[in-house]
Every structure is written in C-alpha cells, then in structure tokens.
C-alpha cells in the first residue's frame, strides 16, 4: 500500500509494505498519469488517491505522532504555502494556512537558487533581510539588491531571512517551534530562524506520519 503527500513542488511517497520513501519533484509526478495511492494529501493528490486527507489535519496528526510534548507549535513551510498548528494539552488550540499573500515564497526561493546557482547547504545566513510580501514582490527585492551591487548569494540569503521573519510572525513568534517540510534540509533557513527562537526540524515526512496515523 502506498500513501503520498503530493505537494506543489515535491511529492513524498511512502510504500508502507517495504518502508521505501520516494521524494520526487511534482513536475515528474504529474507525468505519471497512472500512479495511484490508497491515501494521500497535498495540492496535487486529488484524483490520484482512494482517500484524500486534508493537509492541515494530516499536519496536526503527524505532529501528534512525532512530538511527545503536550504544548507545541508546528509549522510546515512548503513551496506554495505555510501551514501552522499550535497544540495545547495535545489539542489543537490554533491553526492557520497562509494561502495567498505571503505564499509561493518557497517555490520562488528554489527558482532564485537555481537561477543563481546557489548551494543552500553552504549558504551563510544574512543579518539583513528584504521584505518578502509574496514570492513576486520578494523576487523584485532580490533583483533590486543585485542591481545595487549585493552578491546574488547575499541577496538570496536576505530573501530567505525575509521568509523566515514572515513564518515566525505568522505563527505568533513562539519561543520554540517544530519545522516540517523541505526547509528542514536547508541549513541557511534553520540557522536564520534560530536567530529568533529555538527550532526543531522534523523532516519532510510529517504529513505522511499524519496519514499513517489516520490509517490506525
């Protein structure tokens, strides 16, 4: 049995029988017309699964499966949006989903990184930031910085810093939060976020854990 979290830019597919995890760019997944899953979540999962699960619910249940704390904040920063749940006494106290303004920043960062050949594993954090109102406005700020003589690496790190500030404001500036999604593997993002609060990355499979929990 296969379950999947089909995000806007990357899809995570877990074979529950073998335990094999496949992470594939969604641009490749959309070419696999016949691929189907038992249970799935994510923007690109509709029409590919027997049972579709709500992403925020999968995130909350994944957090409960992976985190033992009674009270905690968990945020998933994706290519297209930011999903957030805050639990108190292991009950959902607050949730939100940044869909329009402020979104598409993750995908924009990847586009910028590809264009300027940025290696995020070695990119140093920047003390400075640009205002990332949304992906498009943020990209305009990066281009402006580069035209003013800032290096592409520094400019992209400033974009990433702006994105981190958005995320932390969006989730209510907690002292500590758990991070879900591809940015767990981006040291520049995590180090920048740690300028503001403690961060515990949980990896890219939190929503899959939520789907698994829903199967129990």
């Amino acid at each position: 049995m296969k379950i999947a979290d089909c995000g806007s830019t990357y899809s995570k597919i877990l074979d529950l029988d073998s335990g094999a995890l496949e992470i594939v760019a969604t641009k490749e997944l959309v070419r696999r017309k016949s691929e189907r899953y038992e249970v799935a979540t994510g923007h690109c999962a509709r029409g590919r699964c027997a049972v579709y699960r709500n992403e925020l619910i999968a995130l909350a249940e994944g957090g409960l499966a992976l985190v033992a704390d009674g009270d905690f904040s968990l945020v998933d920063v994706g290519g297209r949006d930011i999903k957030f749940v805050r639990l108190k006494g292991r009950k959902v106290e607050k949730l939100d989903w940044n869909l329009s303004c402020g979104s598409t920043t993750g995908a924009t960062l990847e586009l910028l990184g590809n264009y300027y050949d940025i290696d995020f594993s070695t990119l140093p954090p920047s003390d400075r930031w640009v205002n990332v109102t949304c992906g498009v406005f943020g990209m305009e700020r990066v281009l402006e910085q580069i035209s003013l003589g800032t290096s592409p690496e520094e400019s992209v790190a400033m974009f990433l810093h702006g994105l981190v500030r958005n995320v932390i404001d969006f989730i209510g500036r907690p002292a500590h939060f758990y991070l879900s999604g591809g940015f767990c593997e981006n040291p520049c993002f995590v180090l920048t976020a740690e300028r503001y609060c403690r961060v515990t990355p949980l990896g890219r499979t939190v929503l899959l854990e939520g789907l698994k929990k829903g199967l129990e």
Partner: protein, 289 residues
C-alpha cells in the same frame, strides 16, 4: 466550469432576462437569489428594477420605490449574478464592491435607480462606487444609516439551527422585508461561529454545521444596526469562529484582530473560493470541535 457557473446554468437559466440576470425570482424558488423581491409587473418595462447595495435606510428604500415604481423589484447588487467583469475598478477591489459596479453596468438602462449605502454602515469603496455610478449616468440615491434609526430586532436567524447558506440568505432578505418569519426556525446552542459579511462565493458556507451562529456585520443586519461596531465585534469567546472577509476589504483589520483575540481563524478570499480555502475551513471546523 466553475461552481458558480454550474449553479447558474442549472438553477437559474430559465429565469434570465435579456441582461443575463436572474429576475424576477420568487422567494424560495432559489435560495441564492431570494434577495429579489416577488413582484407583479405593471407600468414598467418587464425588466426594470431598482438596485440597492449594503443596508440602506428602510425609509429611503420605501421612498425610492414610491418614486420609481412600487411594483419594481429590488435587486441586491452586492450579490454575484454572473454579470461580466466591467473592468472599471482595479483588480484589487473587494469583490462585493466590484459586483455592485458590474451588476449595475450589466443591467444598464433596466436599472431605474440605485439605492447606495455610503455611510459607516458600508465603506469608502462603496461610497466611491456610488459616486462612479452617478458619474456614469445612473440615478443614485445615497443612504447613510444613522444611529437614531438603529433597531433591536431579535436574532432569529443568527442563532437558528439551519444550513448556514440559508441562514445568511434569509438575514439579507430582511433588508427588504423585515417581517418576522412565521414559523420562526428553532434556535440552537452554537458549536461554531461564522463572523463577517455574506461571501461572494457561498460554497464556503456549506462546510459549517447547522449549529453555526452568525456574527459580525451579518448579525448587525438582522438586528437592524448595520454600523454598530460594538455589536459587529461581539462574539462568543468559547465558540470556534471563522472570521471571514473578502480580500481587499477593510474589515480584514477587524477580522485579524478578533481572530487573534478569540483564537479563531481569519479567512479571506478574492473572487471564487478555491480548494485551499475550503480545506483550511474544513480543517478548522473539524479540529476545533
């Protein structure tokens, strides 16, 4: 085909006039369009109507009907009726105000007059829309709902056990016909709250249980107090509430403040609801039980 187009095609095609609008509509025949009053045509061309938006003073609505024709139907211009996009207003205009202008231009000469709420009970953009419509040659009668005319009508629908879509539709119908419903629907204890204005796309309302109470400006309409900010901001602290606004509406300021204060969820939407917004509301309704 979008939901709204599907809906219009399936439910209202038989009642379209030459402007493509659904009129006349007998209340109850279509919940979505029940804000059009039931009429019998007499002196006027068959498709002449009086438009209004917001919650005009009842006296001004009455006087306008006396002046332009008591038999003319009243059409709520705030509502999406499938009018083509006029392109008069910027893309970053609240969809409800854009509906007002698009509907008016689509109706054109069939619109005998527009009764426009332009006071604190509406918004600057509504006032600007009234100004623009007058400049375009429409007969516009402005209304500013004064505190002295505030009513204290019972909140029958806001607290009723009914589908939220029907609840809001019937509340908005009280602008034209404030008579008490007979029989009155049963009330219920709230499990959820919906705060805000009637949305452009009613699909969002279908996610809520029948035990959802209505708050915000829509409740103010039922109470007959459309600019009573104190009442507008009154919610039940223990009830998980969605604070809904159209994108680019000034009420987003209130919605965000109240959502933070009451641990609710602020939701805004431009034009049609998308799957992400529906999923967000669905998650809140389910996880906050």
């Amino acid at each position: 085909m979008t939901w709204s187009r599907r809906f219009r095609a399936s439910k209202t095609a038989r009642t379209r006039n030459r402007h493509g609008l659904t009129y006349p509509v007998i209340r109850g025949a279509s919940k979505r369009f029940s804000r059009l009053s039931k009429i019998t045509m007499k002196k006027h061309p068959a498709d002449t109507v009086i438009g209004y938006f917001g919650f005009p003073r009842r006296k001004i609505l009455r006087e306008t009907r006396e002046r332009f024709g008591p038999d003319l139907p009243l059409v709520d211009l705030d509502v999406d009726m499938g009018a083509p996009d006029s392109g008069i207003l910027p893309a970053t205009t609240c969809r409800i105000v854009a509906n007002v202008v698009d509907n008016a231009l689509s109706l054109g000469s069939a619109l005998a007059a527009v009764v426009a709420a332009v006071g604190e009970d509406k918004c600057d953009r509504g006032r600007h829309a009234a100004f623009l419509l007058r400049k375009m040659g429409f007969s516009v009668i402005e209304s500013r709902f004064p505190e002295e005319e505030f009513e204290s009508r019972p909140l029958v629908f806001s607290r009723a056990r009914l589908p939220l879509r029907e609840k809001i539709d019937r509340i908005m119908a009280t602008v034209v016909d404030p008579s008490a419903p007979d029989p009155a629907p049963a009330s219920c204890e709230p499990t959820h709250g919906f705060w805000g204005v009637p949305p452009h796309d009613f699909r969002i309302l279908d996610l809520f249980p029948e035990t959802t109470h209505v708050y915000g400006w829509t409740r103010c309409v039922e109470a007959g107090r459309p600019s009573d900010v104190e009442l507008e901001c009154r919610v039940d602290d223990a009830i998980p509430t969605i604070f809904f606004t159209q994108s680019f509406c000034a009420k987003q300021d209130l919605a965000h403040f109240l959502a933070e204060r009451h641990r609710g969820l602020a939701v805004d939407c431009h034009r049609e609801i998308n799957d992400s917004i529906l999923a967000k509301v669905e998650a809140f309704v389910r996880l906050s039980r």
